[in-house]
C-alpha cells in the first residue's frame, strides 16, 4: 500500500512537470491559435540560463529568477518577430514554423552549452521524508505544490485582473478586442512571455533529475502535448488534470503490469490517450468544436 502511494505521488510529481509545460501549450494555443512545438526547447534554453547564472556565482533563487526574466523576454520576442506572421493562418504551416524554432533553439543551446548533460541543483534539496511508511522526496512534493500554486495564480490572473480579462478577450477575437482599445500586439507578446515562464518553471523543476541538455525536455514535450490534447486544448485545468493522470498511469502501469516494465511504460499514456480521444474527440474537458462552413 505504501508502495502504491509512493508511486502515485511520484506520478503526480512527474505529471506536474508535464502539466506546467502543457499549461504553456494551452496558453499559447488560446492566445494565438497554434501549437508551439518549440515550447520545450524555449524552456531548456532558459534553464541553461539559470545554469549559467548559478555557475557564475549567483545563488540558486536568483539564478532561477534571472532565467524567468529571460524566458519572458524570449517568449515575447519570438512571438513578435517569428511567429506573428503565421498566427491564425494555416495551422499546419504554423506547426512547421514551430518545428523550425524547435530545431533552431536546440541548436542555439547546443552551440553555447554543448550536448553534455549538466548537473543542476534541486531547489527543494535532496531529502526524503518518511510519512508513516511512505517515502516521498521533498522535491516531488515541492513540484506538486508549485504546480498547484501556478494553477491558482493563473486562475487569479485570468478571472480577477484586468490584464487577464484583456488576454482572454484577445484570445477570443483579437480584431474585436482591438476595437475596444486593447493593445493586441502587446497582449500577444505577454501571453507568449507568460507561457515561456511556465516552461522554464517546468525546466528548472525537472533539471535536477534529468540533467540539463538541449534535448532534456523532448520527451516531456510529447507528454505535455498529449496532456494538452487530452485535456481539450482550451482548458488549462483540463491540461493539468490530464497531465497528472498521465503521470500516475504511466508509473502504475510500469510498476504493476509486468509485461510493460520500465521501458515500455511510455507507451501507456499514448494508448490511453488514443482510446479516450476515439471515444471523446474533444478531449476530457474540451468543448465540442463546431466548424462553421
Amino acid at each position: 500500500m505504501a508502495y502504491f502511494i509512493q508511486l502515485v505521488i511520484e506520478g503526480l510529481a512527474t505529471g506536474s512537470i508535464y502539466g506546467a509545460l502543457a499549461l504553456a501549450i494551452v496558453l499559447v494555443n488560446r492566445a494565438t491559435g497554434l501549437i508551439n512545438f518549440a515550447q520545450g526547447g524555449m524552456a531548456v534554453l532558459s534553464t541553461f540560463v539559470a545554469y549559467a547564472l548559478y555557475h557564475a556565482g549567483a545563488p540558486l533563487a536568483l539564478a532561477i529568477l534571472g532565467a524567468v526574466v529571460f524566458a519572458f523576454v524570449l517568449g515575447a520576442a519570438i512571438e513578435r518577430i517569428i511567429v506573428r506572421p503565421f498566427e491564425r493562418g494555416d495551422p499546419d504551416t504554423a506547426v512547421v514554423v514551430t518545428i523550425g524554432l524547435f530545431v533552431l533553439i536546440g541548436g542555439v543551446a547546443a552551440f553555447f552549452f554543448g550536448y553534455e548533460p549538466r548537473q543542476f541543483p534541486s531547489f527543494f534539496g535532496l531529502e526524503t521524508l518518511d510519512l508513516g511508511g511512505v517515502f516521498v522526496s521533498v522535491r516531488s512534493l515541492g513540484t506538486i505544490v508549485v504546480l498547484a500554486l501556478v494553477v491558482a495564480l493563473l486562475q487569479l490572473l485570468f478571472r480577477g485582473t484586468k490584464l487577464g480579462l484583456a488576454m482572454r478577450a484577445v484570445a477570443d477575437n483579437p480584431q474585436s478586442a482591438s476595437l475596444s482599445g486593447l493593445p493586441v500586439s502587446r497582449l500577444l507578446m505577454i501571453g507568449w512571455g507568460l507561457a515561456s515562464v511556465l516552461g522554464v518553471i517546468a525546466g528548472v523543476l525537472v533539471a535536477p533529475q534529468l540533467f540539463v541538455s538541449p534535448g532534456m525536455l523532448d520527451f516531456v514535450l510529447v507528454y505535455a502535448l498529449a496532456a494538452a490534447i487530452l485535456g481539450g486544448l482550451d482548458s488549462p485545468l483540463g491540461a493539468v488534470v490530464a497531465a497528472w493522470f498521465i503521470g500516475v498511469i504511466e508509473n502504475l502501469a510500469g510498476a504493476y503490469i509486468d509485461v510493460i516494465g520500465n521501458d515500455l511504460k511510455i507507451a501507456v499514456p499514448f494508448v490511453v490517450m488514443i482510446i479516450i480521444l476515439i471515444v471523446r474527440p474533444q478531449g476530457l474537458f474540451g468543448r465540442k468544436v463546431v466548424v462553421r462552413v
Binding site: 480579462l165 478577450a169 477570443d172 477575437n173 474585436s176 476595437l179 475596444s180 482599445g181 486593447l182
Partner: protein, 236 residues
C-alpha cells in the same frame, strides 16, 4: 464643431480599391448616416476610419489626423466601433464583454454606473448578465455590442449594420435604444445601414454610396424628398 472629417478617402483590399474618394463631415452631437446597397462600401468606410483596412486620403478626428492609425489607437482617441457581425467575445460572459468595452477607462465608479445605464437601455441583457455571450440570441448580441461601445464612453460611435440578421421587431428595439442614447447622452454617431427607414429614425444627415463612391448626399429631409431615394428604399 467638426468632430470627424473624411477627405477623399480611398480604401483597398490587397490590390483592389473599393472606396474611391469619400468625403463627409460629422459634427459633435450629430448622427450621420451612410446608406447604400450591399457591397457599396459602407462597411469599408467605417473600417477605414478604424484603421482596419489600407487607407488613402485623409481622416481627421477632433483635429488629429488619424489616417491609417491602428484600431486600438483609434479607439483610444474616443471612437467606439460596433462592427459588422457584432464582434461578440463569445467565450466571455456578458458582464466581461462590458468590462472589456470599458478597458481604457480607470474610473471604476463611472464604469459601474455605465453598466447600469446599458442594462437600463437593454433590459434583455440584465437577465443574461452572467451567461456566456455566445449563448445570446442575435438581437441580444447586437444589444451587447452596442453596450460595449457605450462602455467606452466614446465621443463618436461607429455603428455598422446594426439591423443585419435581426427580426424587424428586434431591429426596432435596438434602434429605439440608440435613439434614446442619442437624446440622453448626445453621443455623435456614424450609422451604416441598408435599411434606410431605420437609419432615418436616428440620423440627421446622410450620404448614399454606390460602388465605392458617393452618389447622393444631404439632410434627412432632403434625401427623403428625392425621387431616387424614395424609389430605391421606400418603394416609390
Amino acid at each position: 464643431m467638426t468632430l470627424l472629417e473624411l477627405e477623399g478617402v480611398t480604401a483597398s483590399y490587397g490590390h483592389a480599391e473599393v472606396l474611391h474618394g469619400i468625403s463627409f463631415r460629422v459634427d459633435e452631437n450629430e448622427a450621420f448616416g451612410i446608406l447604400g446597397a450591399n457591397g457599396a462600401g459602407k462597411t469599408t468606410t467605417l473600417r477605414a476610419i478604424s484603421g482596419m483596412v489600407a487607407t488613402g486620403g485623409r481622416i481627421t478626428f477632433d483635429g488629429t489626423d488619424i489616417t491609417g492609425f491602428r484600431p486600438d489607437k483609434v479607439a483610444a482617441l474616443g471612437i467606439a466601433h460596433v462592427p459588422e457581425g457584432r464582434g461578440t467575445l463569445g467565450d466571455l460572459s456578458v458582464r466581461d464583454n462590458l468590462r472589456v468595452g470599458a478597458y481604457r477607462r480607470s474610473d471604476r465608479a463611472g464604469v459601474a454606473e455605465d453598466i447600469e445605464l446599458c442594462l437600463d437601455l437593454f433590459p434583455n441583457l440584465r437577465a443574461r448578465i452572467g451567461s456566456n455571450a455566445s449563448a445570446l440570441s442575435g438581437g441580444e448580441q447586437q444589444m451587447l455590442a452596442v453596450s460595449r461601445a457605450i462602455m467606452a464612453k466614446p465621443r463618436l460611435i461607429l455603428l455598422d449594420e446594426a439591423s443585419l440578421g435581426l427580426a424587424p421587431s428586434t431591429a426596432q428595439t435596438v434602434y429605439r435604444a440608440i435613439k434614446r442614447l442619442r437624446s440622453e447622452q448626445g453621443v455623435a454617431m456614424v450609422v451604416v445601414e441598408q435599411n434606410a427607414m431605420l437609419a432615418f429614425s436616428v440620423v440627421d444627415q446622410a450620404i448614399v454610396l454606390e460602388t465605392g463612391a458617393t452618389s447622393l448626399t444631404g439632410s434627412r429631409d432632403e434625401l427623403l424628398g428625392m425621387d431616387e431615394v424614395r424609389r430605391a428604399y421606400l418603394g416609390g
